[in-house]
Subunit: 434 residues, 2 copies
């Protein structure tokens, strides 16, 4: 039997997984490498961080998703190096030779050169991140209750979300919902409803990628939920228990980072040109200059559409690019010319909290309950794995009607970095005045 070309895919996110699902139907050998054993449905990660869903409900083992195909191999491991000259991908214990390489390694957090902020303001990219945020959020209420029981008159808790993009908006809205509704009757000494949730955005409006009217509506909906939205507000320092905005110091029990994204460092190892965020500037067919056998897709790729606008770093882009790349490899095998990638904008949605959201389908702009509902069904529909869909739907229906959040587990350590002692920041007038 003749040699089947080997396609190595780095990354089991939306882009890499979609490419793999298409490629297994071709006469190729597929090797998918990821640092995790599971695909994470990132659009719902904020639900895990806020205890609406359990990790297992938004993540599925990659080898389970690709089961039943003999020509795909899934490896757990971190790629240390890519040698495009010799067509080798280096894993800890061995090298893998490829005929085609698809780099879909995604993006991580960027603290804009302030990595020392990370321990005090975790971001939300992985299941582990979500569990850590969940731990901090619910632990803050527990520690406040215990201190109050000890007789310390505490000022209300402060949660600060940095970054007004989709993730920041989802987190802030859901935190408000938790404080106002979910925990309202469960504490004896503190009053969760007095919790202050601050959303800090450096730019002039939240959800900057959306049309202005939708940004305005999102801000409206956030305020209705009780979130204090501060736009054109630049964070100058983050430390244990506090965030500085120039001269002003904001005390904070929990700080969450939703501001910056940095492309995977693997992008730099391809020898191709990258942009300031470290994204690889790809050819129109998503390959890299001088190496038609190497493709970069998803959040790690930088490409403009016909109108000269950069493609958004969202799941649909990655999914469409994964499909397009598999098709171009198929065309290579059939000696057909490749086609350039064309992004089809099916519209975009952002959720804000319980029954709130915004949506844009071309010229159509929607706000509120309908936007949220479309968001909900589209996401449950695309959630990978039948089992998960059913469970997630039940969970959601249940928590929608009951205001419960079932996955409120605090696991691991029961300390918070910079948890304020009574005489510290959170007791200053500015805070008490809330």
């Amino acid at each position: 039997m003749k040699h089947k070309p080997r396609v190595v895919i780095i990354g089991g996110g939306f882009g890499g997984l979609t490419a793999a699902r298409k490629l297994v139907k071709l006469p190729v050998q597929v090797t998918l490498i990821d640092r995790k054993n599971h695909h994470t449905f990132q659009p719902l990660l904020y639900q895990v961080a806020t205890a609406g869903l359990s990790p297992g409900e938004i993540a599925a083992p990659i080898r389970w998703i690709l089961r039943g195909h003999d020509n795909v191999e899934v490896l757990l491991g971190e790629v240390s190096m890519i040698d495009v000259e010799h067509k080798l991908v280096k894993l800890p214990d061995h090298d893998i030779a490829y005929d085609y390489l698809i780099v879909a390694a995604g993006a991580g957090h960027s603290y804009f050169g302030h990595d020392e902020w990370e321990p005090y303001a975790p971001g939300l990219k992985t299941i582990e991140d979500a569990i850590e945020i969940r731990r901090r959020v619910f632990l803050a209420f527990e520690l406040a209750e215990r201190e109050a029981a000890a007789g310390d008159k505490l000022s209300p808790l402060h949660f600060i979300v940095i970054g007004g993009g989709p993730t920041g908006v989802e987190l802030a809205g859901t935190l408000a919902e938790i404080a106002r509704k979910v925990l309202a009757d469960e504490f004896r000494t503190i009053d969760p409803q007095r919790t202050r949730i601050l959303l800090l955005e450096g730019g002039p409006r939240v959800l900057p990628a959306y049309p202005e009217d939708l940004s305005a509506s999102a801000e409206e909906q956030l305020k209705k939920l009780g979130v204090e939205v501060h736009t054109s507000t630049l964070v100058t320092k983050v430390e244990a228990g506090a965030v500085d905005i120039g001269e002003t110091r904001l005390p904070a029990a929990v700080v969450l980072w939703a501001a910056g994204v940095a492309a995977s460092p693997l992008g730099k190892k391809l020898g191709a040109p990258t942009d300031r965020a470290g994204r690889v500037l790809v050819n129109p067919d998503l390959s890299i200059p001088g190496h038609p056998e190497v493709f970069v897709i998803g959040d790690l790729a930088a490409l403009k559409d016909e109108t000269g606008k950069w493609l958004p770093g969202v799941a649909p882009t990655a999914i469409q690019q994964g499909k397009a790349t598999a098709r171009n490899i198929a065309r290579d095998l059939e000696k057909q010319p490749r086609r350039n990638f064309r992004y089809l904008d099916k519209g975009s949605l952002a959720t804000i909290g319980r029954a709130a959201g915004i949506a844009q389908f071309g010229k159509v702009h929607i706000s509120g309950f309908i936007a949220w509902l479309s968001w909900l069904f589209i996401h449950i529909f695309f959630l990978i794995g039948f089992r998960n869909r059913v469970i997630v739907f039940i969970q959601w229906a249940w928590s929608y009607f009951s205001y419960e959040r079932g996955a409120r587990l605090i696991t691991g350590d029961t300390e918070l970095p910079g948890w304020h002692k009574p005489e510290e920041p959170a007791k200053e007038p500015s805070a008490r005045s809330a």
Copy 2:
């Protein structure tokens, strides 16, 4: 309004939580203190460790379970000291005065004086334990697949479960099911079905607390599932990647500890007599000598029944003792004499794997599918929280028919202690001969 007596409960397990649920209906103030924010349904913990259920499905926040009662306060914290003379319980940031104290702090692992074994053989008591075991089990298959892909001819994986009690039997049976069925078709290079699962029991039979015929049946069922059962086998050493039985060294990718239980150290802080396992020898009414206002219940209490047999350290004992203690406190308030605790044995069940188990209801002994079915429904019925019950039932039905285990997430670190390099233990003849 007259002073309501304060009842402080230490521990939110079956005993403490049951006592709290009864006490909130009395004219008392209840304070429940636990190191975790959640009650864990321990009988199903092995399902989390083996990815059948997600942590959130077998654990519920204690303050959520007790919500809607104004006379109960839930505090997250670790009790450092108990002063029975001054009736004080000491928390990190303050002391709590009590009129009644119920100590239901349960038990942890005992490595029989070999605590250095713990990092290599985790036990299963908490959600964190279960997540760590899940990580090791599924990571072992991933690392083996990657090494095999690197061209190393690997001997089959070895999993060693130490201890043939209910937990050890559940774990071994379920691990066999995972290797033989769940993962069977998902790996390309290794063959999970060749995995060896060894169950090591020091005594002459597994499930020693059960009648001999049921032990024999359990061993039969385990063997049918592919577990290698070794009774009268004493472990002399556990280290990274290996377990010693006298002169014989067994290589192991993962070692699990289900052998020893040690009562909570709080038992020793009451000044009451304790047994060798550190359990408090309580009066027939579950109070401690000289302190009628202090009760000890659940796994931390040692009490004999009428026949002189020690009460088993199982959930029903703790639940019945929680109720009995609440009733005795009620009798004190009504100036009625207390009643001694009488344990009602409603029978006991152990599950072994998919559709296998044993059950004893008085003289009636059941084995196999029916036993497993009764086990399943009894446990789902008692699972705390309606939401969880529905979800767990669906999960279970689904994984029963699909052979899937949805919660197969490897979170955290991707290293295994003592993971064998090709030239190490697992490659020696004894192992390869499998």
